[in-house]
């Protein structure tokens, strides 16, 4: 590998560095996806919508994400910019589209922060005292500290050494697998059962409509409810696993869509890790093998844990405990030591996920700042830690505000804004991934017909992924605008996205130069199959009047 230029004057872009091995690339891809945290946050909601068909949704949601990974890969080849879909959007459809695409990406990262903080606070307390984990003041306080700590880590540029990462991730995967296998085995035979708490009011009515009365159930292999003195008590029972759970038969299209929005979130991170960090020891083979390897590992983990989670005490238990589903299931399935390990795995996974949330968001902000699309203070890089300092703290500060807003509103009203954040982030991801897919096709339009490979990887796959995801976004809005829709989801999923429009208009008045940029003319787009390192002209080369 060549050493960089000796003369600092000559040292410019394209310094060859980074020699990531196969294990490192695979570890980064899986750690960025954070399976432990994703499951803890997502499985309850998924089980609530699609029930025993959760394994199907796990596999199904992967398809659009993998399709968009192809778009990320090829757009990154033409323009490896840390602003990713922001700069790609500008190149394909112009500054406004790019700006909104970048905004959607930052918002997706922002919307997930309360959930990350909440889960971390809750699981940390769970480690020491199960009762206290319902104390909202305590968990919120820890959650805010957690956001602060993670911003500090990102600002300082602290990163675990490769070996520590492998140890942490290894533990996470092993514990999740043990949990899944134990849960799975326990549900065979006569299975196990567990009494839920006593429900009153609306919850009791809901339980009565979703479960049969225990007196009417002859076989004891079904969750049912007993009417008790002051309400209703549900008796959860295992459901024997079946291969039919991997099909969608019997799931309504509305539930399928709601499940998809949640499941998109569990793969978030995988795609960028495998497609944007392509440099490695053998750039031609390692990323490809790592992508395949991490895919099989992830699909495997999600599939078995989905099976274990919905079979152990039936999907109802998972859904009814959606706030800490993995913790509640783990407490039933595992002995204390392994249960604590599971909690620790979720915690380490959440901190990894927090880093892979803050870093992309602040780098998008940095890129937007450098290209003068937003105040350029956001582009400041700390001279000591070599990280985007101002962006990091702005992001952290706004995350805390948003977190507090959700906690306060949820605590004082009957709407639970807080638990809708997974669906909301799914919506934002669907939107900006969809934009990336469509940008890719339009940007490379001249190259699509040059080869079958181009047509498939730059045309068909991004189009498929893009359409599915953009459709998911709008259909989710459509499904929830009615009186019986989830208005909390609608608010958290679209509120901050819409807030971007006035902000963009303000930036347009303040920074008119950026908004004179024009999309790259199609004849200047580099060959997607060409050698790596041949990249598009700098952003801003094509402006209004400069070239028609």
């Amino acid at each position: 590998m060549a050493v960089a230029q000796s003369d600092p004057e000559m040292a410019s872009k394209g310094l060859k560095g980074g020699s990531l091995g196969l294990v490192a690339v695979t570890v980064i891809a899986i750690a960025s996806t954070a399976p432990g945290y994703s499951l803890a946050a997502g499985i309850g909601g998924i089980a609530g919508h699609v029930g025993v068909h959760s394994p199907f949704i796990m596999i199904f949601a992967f398809i659009p994400m993998a399709c968009i990974a192809a778009a990320f890969f090829y757009m990154n080849k033409a323009d490896p910019d840390c602003g990713t879909n922001f700069t790609w959007g500008v190149r394909a459809f112009g500054p406004s589209f790019g700006w909104l695409s970048g905004w959607a990406c930052i918002i997706a990262d922002l919307v997930i922060m309360p959930n990350l903080a909440g889960i971390s606070g809750q699981y940390l307390v769970l480690l020491f005292d199960e009762k206290a984990s319902n104390n909202i003041y305590l968990t919120t306080f820890i959650g805010i500290l957690f956001i602060g700590a993670m911003c500090w880590v990102c600002w300082k540029g602290i990163e675990l050494s490769a070996r520590s990462q492998v140890v942490l991730l290894g533990t996470e995967i092993i514990v999740l697998t043990i949990f899944a296998v134990v849960a799975f085995t326990k549900s065979f035979g006569s299975g196990i059962s567990k009494n839920g708490g006593v429900l009153t009011g609306d919850d009791a009515t809901a339980a009565q409509s979703s479960y049969p009365a225990c007196s009417a159930v002859t076989k004891s292999t079904q969750s049912c409810f007993n009417t008790v003195q002051d309400g209703v008590q549900v008796v959860y029972h295992s459901v024997k696993p079946s291969l039919s759970w991997m099909s969608w038969s019997g799931v309504s299209s509305k539930d399928l869509l709601a499940g998809l929005v949640l499941a998109v979130f569990i793969y978030w991170g995988w795609d960028t890790a495998v497609s944007v960090n392509e440099e490695s020891t053998d750039a031609n083979r390692t990323p490809g093998i790592a992508a395949v390897l991490s895919t099989f590992l992830l699909l495997g983990i999600y599939l078995v844990t989905a099976y274990g989670s919905v079979s152990l005490l039936g999907p109802g238990f998972t859904a009814d405990n959606s706030a800490d589903a993995l913790g509640a299931l783990g407490a039933v399935a595992l002995p204390t030591i392994l249960y604590k390990l599971l909690i620790i795995a979720v915690l380490t996974s959440a901190s990894a996920s927090c880093q892979t949330t803050i870093l992309p968001a602040t780098r998008t902000m940095l890129s937007m700042g450098v290209h003068k699309a937003v105040p350029d203070k956001l582009a400041e890089v700390d001279a000591k830690h070599l990280t985007p300092a101002f962006s990091t703290w702005v992001f952290g500060f706004v995350s805390v505000l948003w977190y507090l807003l959700l906690v306060v509103v949820s605590h004082n009203t009957s709407t639970d804004l807080y638990s809708s954040s997974i669906g909301a982030v799914g919506m934002a991801i669907a939107l900006y991934y969809g934009f990336t897919g469509i940008s890719c096709i339009w940007y490379y339009r001249r190259w699509l017909t040059k080869s079958t490979k181009n047509l498939v990887f730059i045309g068909v796959l991004p189009l498929l992924g893009g359409i599915v995801l953009v459709y998911t976004f709008f259909a989710t809005i459509r499904d929830n605008v009615g009186t019986d829709g989830d208005h909390a989801l609608l608010f958290t999923g679209t509120g901050l996205l819409i807030a971007g429009i006035p902000f963009m208009i303000w930036c347009r008045l303040k920074y008119p130069t950026f908004f004179t940029y024009r999309p790259d003319p199609p004849d200047t787009v580099p060959d997607p199959g060409g050698p790596s390192g041949v990249i598009a002209a700098e952003l801003g080369t094509y402006t209004q009047g400069a070239r028609k």
Binding site: P8, K13, G18, S19, S32, P80, V276, N277, A352, V381
Partner: protein
């Protein structure tokens, strides 16, 4: 062929004390000194583009300052600068091996063994991995300068 001394330089001129000490030895040996600045943004997010450009500007500035200070103090010393986009340890080893250096000189800012095991420490890792002799120069004024 003259001997080569490789020196690691970090942000805000960390390692400049080590460079100063190394410059004394290099002058005595009649060696050429190579200042190496290794940097790599975290791979947990997209890198590339303006981010790396800005880091490079910082690296450029720091190494220029260190170089001019050294040149003023050691006018006979030949100094070159190499910026490498990789982790500092990799950068130092690669440059030293490629140039067949006699010694790698680094400063040591006092990161303890626990921190080093968890997060990695350039000096610790370098001492264990380098096939070329490593000279570690303790930094007198900042016992915990890695904070």
């Amino acid at each position: 062929m003259s001997s080569i001394v490789v020196v690691g330089i970090g942000p805000e001129g960390s390692g400049s004390h080590a460079a100063d000490v190394a410059a004394g030895y290099a002058t005595a040996l009649g060696a050429t000194m190579i200042l190496v600045f290794g940097y790599e943004p975290s791979s947990l997010g997209p890198r590339g583009g303006p981010f790396e450009d800005q880091i490079e500007e910082i690296a450029d500035e720091v190494t220029k300052d260190v170089r001019s200070a050294l040149s003023a103090a050691h006018p006979d010393l030949a100094i070159t600068v190499e910026l490498v986009r990789d982790r500092p340890v990799e950068s130092l080893i690669r440059v030293a091996e490629a140039r067949s250096a006699q010694v790698i000189v680094v400063g040591h800012g006092g990161s303890g063994p626990f921190r080093a095991a968890l997060l990695g420490s350039t000096t610790y890792e370098l001492v264990h991995r380098s096939t070329i002799p490593v000279l570690v120069v303790p930094d007198p004024k900042a016992p915990d300068s890695d904070d």
